[in-house]
């Protein structure tokens, strides 16, 4: 962890060095330019030579005049020497030379000299030996004047040179100091640079090692890894991805994902990639992946992540994990669970049925006494009255009468025996000991038999049994139980119907069911009683004063339901109607 202060110090030192370097460099350059400018040699530095040459020219002219006096040289030679001297004076009078002369204070002398030479010109042009002394006298002060001027010029030049050299030395000293500063700054920069290079080298090494390690991680990962840029081109593709999709890294990198496999063009995968490129993570589970030349798909988990660098999304990275085994395990789990649920439902149903049967059996046994007292009362009463009549008749009874009374008693007892058998069968059926004893049962016969018995038990009541309106009335039920239900309903109608009114039994068929309506006129059943009338041991307000246990309707409904039918109380009108519903018998050849 780099402390915040360290890089600041690390940066400030070279920065200061650079600033110092730049300042000193600028200063040195300025100084050097100054020196360079000052080193341009002015013409005045040549003034000593010019004046010396002028002095020589004056001396040689004087000498030539003397020789001309002697006739040893001609006028041309004199004229040449004169011209040379005049040219020297002209040079002194020109531009920079004239200014120098003025500076050393010899301008007046120069003017006089120029004028003198101008005046002497005709004398030279038309020279005669007689002119010699005069000309020499005129030229005599010239060499001395030039010599003295040269002397002053020398001093002036040396003073100037000395001053200039002093300036150069100062400027050079400053430049040297600057250069030392520059060297120090350069040294600091060099050291900083070397340190920075070493650090950079170390960091590069570390980066390279990290990159190699990352590459190793990616390539040796069991998970498929790919990276994609914004254009949808693959930028990274590891071996595991190659194994999953049957494409090598060389084939994949640089190409569009959609070209590599149709899998990447599937809507959820495409959307996941788009989300990741938009900077959001996404996840897909158990996506089917069809490999080339494979019939069954793999199932893979996908995780999409945006590839970020300094807040900018460069692309997306996708991890692909083969989850086929998990998928298979899940499928297996789901199958097991379904099977288990089915089993539980089946068992629950069995248990419910068993419970129901147990309850029914328990109910039946619990109500056995009540049933006995209720159901068996009518046949017993029939048998009893027949036997009583036989006893009362005694010897007066004819054999035919005896036979008739005995037969009635036997019929009653026979019915009672069948009832006991059915009840026991029903109990066993509830206990799951035997199957349902349901057969094709002629309801008309049952109705007739019940009505006949009821007429015997209540000779003063009119009981009308209608014939079915159409079709054969065959029910699919236990005949004894069906008879028992009708018995209960008809006896209830006889018991509670208004005296002097008939009881009607009307069977009819409709679709898959047969119906038997048992109607009686009389006081309607109060509304508060209608809801509870089928409850065990419930006796309605209209039963007060009549004999009963309150289980007749309960038993009737229970028995009807055991046949797959029902007993219901029809909506109140001028008559009271209980309806028995039973399933219709359907033989394979039945074309009702």
């Amino acid at each position: 962890m780099i402390r915040l202060g360290k890089p600041v110090i690390g940066l400030s030192l070279p920065l200061v060095a650079v600033i110092v370097f730049a300042i000193l460099m600028t200063f040195s350059l300025i100084r050097m330019f100054e020196v360079e400018n000052a080193m341009r040699v002015d013409a005045e530095q040549n003034m000593l030579w010019v004046l010396h040459q002028s002095e020589v020219a004056a001396l040689r002219l004087t000498e030539t005049v003397a020789l001309a006096e002697l006739g040893e040289v001609d006028n041309d030679a004199l004229s040449l020497r004169f011209d040379i001297l005049v040219s020297r004076v002209a040079l002194l009078n020109d531009g920079p030379q004239r200014r120098f002369v003025e500076r050393i204070g010899y301008d007046d002398e120069l003017d006089e000299l120029t004028a003198m030479l101008q005046a002497a010109k005709p004398m030279v042009t038309d020279f005669t030996p007689a002119d010699g002394p005069r000309l020499r006298a005129a030229l005599a002060p010239l060499p001395r004047q030039f010599g003295r001027a040269a002397n002053v010029a020398m001093i002036a030049e040396w003073d100037g040179l000395g001053g200039r050299l002093e300036d150069y030395r100062d400027q050079l000293r400053q430049t040297i100091a600057s250069l030392i500063g520059i060297m120090l700054a350069g040294g600091i920069l060099m050291v900083t640079l070397v340190l920075a290079l070493r650090q950079s080298h170390r960091q590069n090494d570390m980066l390279r090692r990290e990159r190699d390690f990352s590459g190793l991680l990616i390539s040796s990962s069991g998970e498929g890894i790919l990276a994609v840029d914004h254009a949808g081109r693959c930028t990274l593709w590891n071996d595991a991805m190659g194994a999953l999709l049957g494409r090598s890294t060389e084939q994949a990198v640089g190409r569009l994902l959609a070209e590599l496999s149709g899998f990447f063009d599937v809507a959820p995968v495409r959307q996941g990639l788009q989300r990741a490129l938009a900077g959001k993570t996404a996840q897909l589970r158990l996506q089917p992946l069809f490999q080339p030349d494979q019939e069954n798909p793999l199932h893979v988990d996908l995780r999409f992540f945006p590839l970020r660098n300094e807040g900018e999304t460069l692309g997306a990275i996708l991890f692909l994990t083969d989850a086929t085994d998990r998928y298979a395990a899940q499928q297996q789990d789901a199958q097991d669970r379904d099977r288990l649920e089915e089993l539980v439902t089946e068992r629950t149903r069995d248990l419910d049925n068993a419970l129901q049967r147990e309850r029914s059996a328990a109910d039946l046994y619990r109500n056995f006494a009540a049933m006995v007292s209720h159901q068996f009362r009518t046949p017993l009463a029939v048998a009893d009255s027949s036997l009583q009549r036989l006893i009362r008749r005694g010897a007066r009874a004819t054999p035919a009468e005896v036979t008739e009374r005995a037969t009635r008693a036997r019929d009653a007892i026979d019915g009672l025996t069948r009832l006991v058998g059915s009840t026991m069968e029903a109990a066993r059926l509830d206990a799951g000991q035997i199957g349902a004893h349901r057969v094709a049962c002629d309801l008309n016969a049952a109705i007739q038999s019940v009505c006949a018995r009821q007429r015997v038990a209540a000779p003063d009541r009119q009981i009308i049994a209608s014939n079915p309106q159409h079709g054969q009335v065959l029910a699919f039920c236990d005949p004894a139980h069906a008879e028992q239900v009708l018995e209960n309903l008809v006896s209830n109608a006889v018991k509670y119907g208004a005296y002097g009114t008939p009881v009607e039994v009307i069977p009819y068929a409709e679709d898959d069911y047969l119906y038997v309506d048992v109607c009686n006129a009389g006081k309607p059943i109060p509304l508060e009683d209608r809801a509870q009338i089928f409850d065990r041991n419930y006796r309605g307000s209209n039963s007060i004063g009549s004999a009963g246990t309150g289980v007749g309707l309960f038993i009737a409904r229970t028995l009807a339901r055991m046949q797959g039918g029902d007993v219901t109380l029809q909506p109140a009108c001028e008559t009271t109607t209980f309806r028995l519903t039973l399933p219709r018998f359907k033989s394979p050849a039945n074309d009702t």
Partner: protein, 158 residues
């Protein structure tokens, strides 16, 4: 700045007397490694060379001046000069050795006029070796300044 014209020297518009004086003294002795050994060229011979004009400043005058004359290399070529150096000698016995290369690297002229006025012997005439000082920074150096020989009257090719 150099311009070459075919001015005929005799046709220069100059003040009569001065011009005569200038022409009188116009003579150049060339010796050394040239075809014919040595030769003295008068004004007529020199005016046969192509005339050029050169505008430059000098170290001994103020401002720029226009110099008229002939290219030194034209003269040397015409004389078939072969050598490394040319010794230039002035009337006042000023002697300077000039590398031959100067005349081929730069357009050095022997000027006979400055600003249209012929150079007289009592100034810097009759001939003045002038370098194109303003055209080349290398020539703005005292080691070239002493090669500006005026009152030139003799050349020796070596």
């Amino acid at each position: 700045m150099l311009t070459q014209t075919t001015l005929v020297f005799a046709g220069l518009v100059v003040a009569g007397a001065t011009a005569v004086t200038a022409q009188e003294h116009m003579a150049l002795h060339v010796s050394g490694q040239i075809s014919g050994g040595s030769v003295t060229l008068d004004q007529d011979a020199l005016s046969g060379l192509p005339t050029v004009e050169l505008v430059t400043s000098t170290v001994v005058t103020d401002g720029q001046h226009s110099f008229t004359g002939f290219l030194m290399r034209d003269l040397l070529d015409q004389l078939g000069a072969k050598g490394e150096t040319v010794t230039a000698i002035a009337l006042n016995d000023y002697v300077v050795e000039i590398p031959m290369a100067d005349f081929y690297d730069f357009d050095v002229i022997a000027a006979h006029s400055m600003d249209g006025i012929p150079l007289d012997r009592d100034d810097k005439g009759p001939l003045w070796i002038v370098y194109p000082r303003d055209d080349h920074e290398a020539l703005q150096d005292i080691r070239y300044d002493y090669r500006w020989v005026w009152q030139l009257y003799q050349l020796e090719v070596r």
